[in-house]
């Protein structure tokens, strides 16, 4: 699979698409959505959609696109080739979310969690299919979070399309299996370090990628490439607790102004009054500062006199 657009600049997310089969623009279609690479602390997360006319749904089954988790990598590549060969009636699109995108979304001031990110990516892809003229009538999704909520959200977003959200959808609906194969294949080809260049010029070739979830091997790798100031290369999802705990203990402490402090301390720093003080009898302007208060020209600009360097 050709991932060159993603490898050109892997700090943002990118979209790979197949050609839209003509038949999809005229006949009613169904569409499957699946994801790959949700758990790992390294590498991108990939979203795939796959669509085909309702009349030819069964033909996908004949391609034996079974549940992708039961397949080896080589078998998956094979199946993907087959899907690509069926391009007369099967279309697909992928959204590759770089680890950097995931980190910055989850670590924003206003938190944007992985579920919300997943949902929005899925919605974007479906919208892309609609914009390309695909006649969508049915959508099948593997669940992210509570199924009924997600189903409701998608139905609201795409009125007139029948949305089915099921756990294990990739083994129930061939079209979802196909989507999951697309996602998995691209996830593996990029996460397999086939040629992953880091923006911070740290080219590392680590042969087969570790298991999905942070295991000892991954941890060892993370420890080895921890920079005391910058933390990790962009290939790592900083928002994962595995990465965070290592950074907290091994790297230099960095304080941001939305870090939480203890309630009391923060209140003191912002010179908040305790609620209780409003109930006491006022002692008549006891908040006069004995210390010299600099003129507001300086305080507004955070300028202070120094008495020593």
């Amino acid at each position: 699979m050709d991932l060159s657009p993603f490898e050109d600049d892997n700090s943002v997310s990118c979209r790979l698409v197949s050609e839209i089969p003509e038949v999809c623009k005229t006949e009613d279609c169904c569409l499957g959505i699946d994801e790959a690479g949700r758990g790992p602390v390294l590498g991108p997360m990939v979203y795939g959609i796959c669509f085909c006319p309702l009349s030819r749904k069964e033909e996908l089954k004949d391609l034996k696109v079974a549940d992708s988790k039961t397949l080896t990598e080589a078998e998956r590549e094979n199946l993907f080739e087959k899907l690509d060969e069926a391009k007369s009636y099967v279309g697909w699109a992928l959204q590759i979310l770089s680890p950097n995108t995931i980190s910055t979304c989850m670590l924003r001031r206003t938190k944007y969690n992985l579920n919300a990110l997943s949902h929005d990516t899925a919605i974007d892809l479906v919208q892309y299919a609609l914009d390309s003229g695909v006649q969508l009538k049915e959508i099948y999704v593997d669940t992210v979070g509570p199924a009924d909520k997600y189903e409701h959200k998608l139905s609201q977003r795409f009125p007139g399309i029948q949305v089915t959200v099921r756990p294990k959808a990739d083994s129930l609906f061939p079209v979802v299996s196909a989507a999951s194969i697309c996602a998995k294949v691209s996830d593996q080809s990029s996460a397999g370090f086939k040629s992953f260049l880091f923006l911070n010029s740290l080219a590392i070739r680590v042969v087969p990628l570790f298991s999905l979830f942070p295991d000892p091997k991954t941890k060892a790798w993370l420890l080895k490439y921890l920079d005391p100031v910058f933390g990790y290369p962009q290939f790592v999802r900083f928002s994962w607790s595995t990465a965070q705990t290592l950074m907290d203990s091994k790297a230099v402490n960095v304080h941001w102004d939305d870090d939480e402090e203890d309630g009391e301390k923060a209140a003191q720093r912002q010179s908040n009054k305790s609620m209780l003080s409003y109930f006491s009898v006022s002692a008549g302007g006891n908040d006069q500062n004995a210390t010299h208060q600099a003129h507001r020209f300086f305080t507004e600009r955070r300028l202070k006199s120094l008495n020593t360097l």
Binding site: K111, N113, D248, S282, G284, A294, H295, L306, N307
Partner: protein, 306 residues
Amino acid sequence: MATKKKRTSNVDNDSWVVIAPDSAIDTHKHDGDPVFVRLRNPSTDAASLYMLGCGDVMLYEVKAFEDDFHSWFVGQAVQRDGRLIFVTPLDPLFLILPYLIKSGKEGKFQRVDQVVKDEEFPACSRLLSCARTLASLHHIAEEKEVESQMYHRYSQEKTMNWLKKKVERTVIALKKKNVSVGEGVKSSTYVRVKSETDNQEEDFIRYSHGLISEYITEDLSKALLTHLGLPELTSPKETEPPSKKRKLSDKPVEAGEDYTKFNSADFARKPPKKMTAAQKSLAKVDKTGMKPMSSFFSPKVKAEKK
């Protein structure tokens, strides 16, 4: 285990990010390097940092921009002290004034080098070698020449006029720089149709006076205020709400809920329940649409067949 982040105070570092005028570091014209000196701050009467340019020709004050959560990337290094230090020219007369005022109480003419002396800050005598000092002493003191020796005596009247000029000049600078001086908040993008009012003029003078007051003693600052013809601002007294009339009755009045008992000194505020660092970071996460962990362990409810 996540360790608790501790904020350590700034350790001694050996470099600062400083913005200084060329004149301060121009070593071609005069001998000697520029030097940081500690002198008596006329407003606070405590030590403050100043800088004397090459050959002690110019005096500069040192101010630091200091805000929480700042660091510098300098070349290939990180500097945790995120301060930005400004070195800006300062009229040496401001620093000499307190000494003159002190000796002026005796009412005698004296030589300035006898007056400007400070055991705590011996560097203050170097102020006299600044280019502007001796030439501008007549702004704040009367002069007499006896046998080609200059003698000076502090003059309140002259000083007031000199300070008034400073205030007026500052007003001009404030207007030019478009500094917001009013009490209210002003939007910089919203343009008023009406031109500025007289009231604003007073705001400018007050603001400017406040700025100059940062460089003179409190007594002078008050005297300057009256000299400028500005009344002292009195903070509006907090008007107590009239106490409610109580119904007359023989029984002692007892409040249904007595909140005041929480204010007694023996009522200590309970420290908030301690959370571990891990719990804290978890609490911050946006959890919308996620199942609680416990739901995975509850007995399976028969899925409703749709």
